[in-house]
């Protein structure tokens, strides 16, 4: 039952996000646009480039979608509405999302195209920048909850949400999450106008439809992770718990899209430098502050 409900919620959120994305890019609010666009992709010819690594080319979009859904499987929408309430939930989110990199390397290498390959390897460099900024803020969250179980993490924010308790962690996590989801301004692996689509470049038809669905699912999953780790999860007045989770998740996801529209694309070297010289020291500071708060505040 939980599986069906969570998958439906994910799909609904992806649809809403696609509507908003269309709205911000075209200026028209069309509720049926994502559906029509999906059907159009299915109808188009699905071209396979010359001498591809067929296995990687076919597997990459599916792998990206699977890891986004797997990461969402351990994130609760309500106290009992979670597919798998694992004892290592917060770590599992990381483990699943690490395979985004594998999927993008496959998508870059598979089609045997220069732009795609540069895009794929670029994401590897991007990972070196953002990876610690995903893990270290989650460490702060787990320290406060004294658990890696995601439902316990939400319950630990019963009185004060982590957005107040560790705002620095939230800022670092959201930046890293946007880099992980390769949304603008961190869309270096796809980089339209510079890499001609990068890892997306050689995909058409049904494969491109799966790739786009996977990218939006990834954004929703990361927004849900932000909600669970920092925004008190299902906590909120009046409305039922699942509704609060969805509202917060969509708000975070839309904020990510909007932020991307108003920021210029960052250079790979700058991203790496800022993440390592500023991001990681700040993440360490966050862990120290949380450690002191956990020990001092009752």
């Amino acid at each position: 039952m939980s599986v069906a409900v969570v998958l439906l919620a994910l799909l609904g959120s992806v649809w809403l996000l696609a509507v908003v994305e269309g709205w911000t890019t075209t200026g028209r609010l069309r509720l049926t646009a994502p559906l029509l666009s999906g059907v159009a992709h299915l109808g188009r010819e699905s071209i396979v480039p010359r001498t591809p690594d067929r296995l990687f080319f076919e597997a990459a979009p599916v792998l990206l979608l699977v890891v986004a859904v797997l990461a969402a499987a351990v994130l609760p929408l309500a106290p009992t509405l979670v597919i798998a309430d694992m004892a290592t939930g917060a770590l599992f989110v990381n483990a699943a999302l690490a395979y985004v990199l594998v999927a993008l390397i496959m998508a870059g290498w598979g089609p045997n195209g220069a732009y795609a390959m540069i895009g794929g390897w670029r994401f590897l460099g991007q990972l070196i920048a953002y990876a610690m900024l995903i893990v270290m803020p989650i460490t702060g969250v787990a320290m406060r909850a004294e658990s890696l179980v995601t439902t316990v993490i939400v319950n630990s924010q019963d009185s004060v949400w982590n957005i107040v308790y560790q705002p620095l962690g939230l800022v670092l996590f959201i930046i890293a999450a946007m880099a992980l989801a390769f949304r603008a301004p961190f869309d270096l692996p796809v980089a339209g106008g510079e890499l001609g689509g990068g890892v997306d470049a050689e995909y058409t038809g049904v494969r491109l439809a799966v790739l786009r669905l996977a990218r939006l699912t990834l954004v929703v999953t990361l927004a849900l992770a932000t909600t669970v780790f920092y925004l008190g999860g299902w906590h909120g007045p009046l409305l039922p718990p699942w509704a609060w989770s969805l509202i917060k998740t969509l708000a975070v996801a839309v904020s990510m899209l909007l932020a991307g529209r108003y920021l210029p694309r960052i250079r790979e070297a700058d991203l790496m430098r800022w993440c390592w010289t500023l991001g990681i020291p700040l993440a360490l500071l966050n862990i120290i502050v949380v450690g002191i708060l956990v020990l001092v505040v009752p």
Partner: protein
């Protein structure tokens, strides 16, 4: 119990299968990712054996490590895509001999070792994580810290060695082209 043994066996065979694939392909990326999936299968074996934290950790760490290894293999091999028909193996007889001996030793240890009785009930996953944390911050702290510092030193040394040395003569040439 039988289901557990079944899944351990399935993931074990998958790990061996992917391991064999590492050496059967000529593509460096395929080889690196086959090794990744072999290690992921080992992580799944940990999960099947109810050691949740170690399993998830193994699955997480390998994704990044093997992908980084892939780019180094692509950079340093002369035929990274495996499409040039180069034979990249060498010392075949020696490696077959070493492989057979190592496999024999591993099987002998597995069969002849006196394994302690199988614990009927594994501790809860959260308890295992807690115990592991205490182990890492207690008795095993020295070993892990030593290993960590050694790896960090090797990384810094490798990076330092990889940066091209700019001799004063070269920099002079750049500044004064005459």
């Amino acid at each position: 119990m039988y289901a557990q043994a079944f899944f351990v066996a399935v993931f074990g065979l998958a790990a061996i299968g992917f391991g064999v694939w590492v050496f059967r392909t000529s593509s460096m990326v395929r080889s690196a990712l086959a090794l990744l999936f072999s290690q992921t299968a080992v992580g799944c074996m940990f999960l099947a054996m109810q050691t949740e934290f170690l399993g998830v950790l193994q699955i997480m760490m390998m994704a990044t490590e093997m992908s980084i290894m892939a780019i180094f293999m692509v950079m340093f091999m002369m035929d990274p895509g495996g499409m040039g028909g180069m034979d990249m193996t060498h010392q075949k007889r020696f490696s077959i001999g070493a492989g057979v001996v190592a496999a024999g030793v591993a099987i002998a240890v597995a069969v002849l070792a006196d394994w302690a009785p199988v614990s009927a009930e594994a501790p809860a996953a959260a308890m295992q994580t807690r115990e592991l944390g205490r182990e890492l911050l207690g008795r095993s702290m020295m070993i892990f810290e030593t290993a960590g510092i050694t790896i960090l030193t090797a990384m810094i040394a490798a990076t330092a060695a990889a940066i091209p040395v700019q001799t004063p003569a070269h920099s002079d040439e750049k500044e004064n082209p005459e």
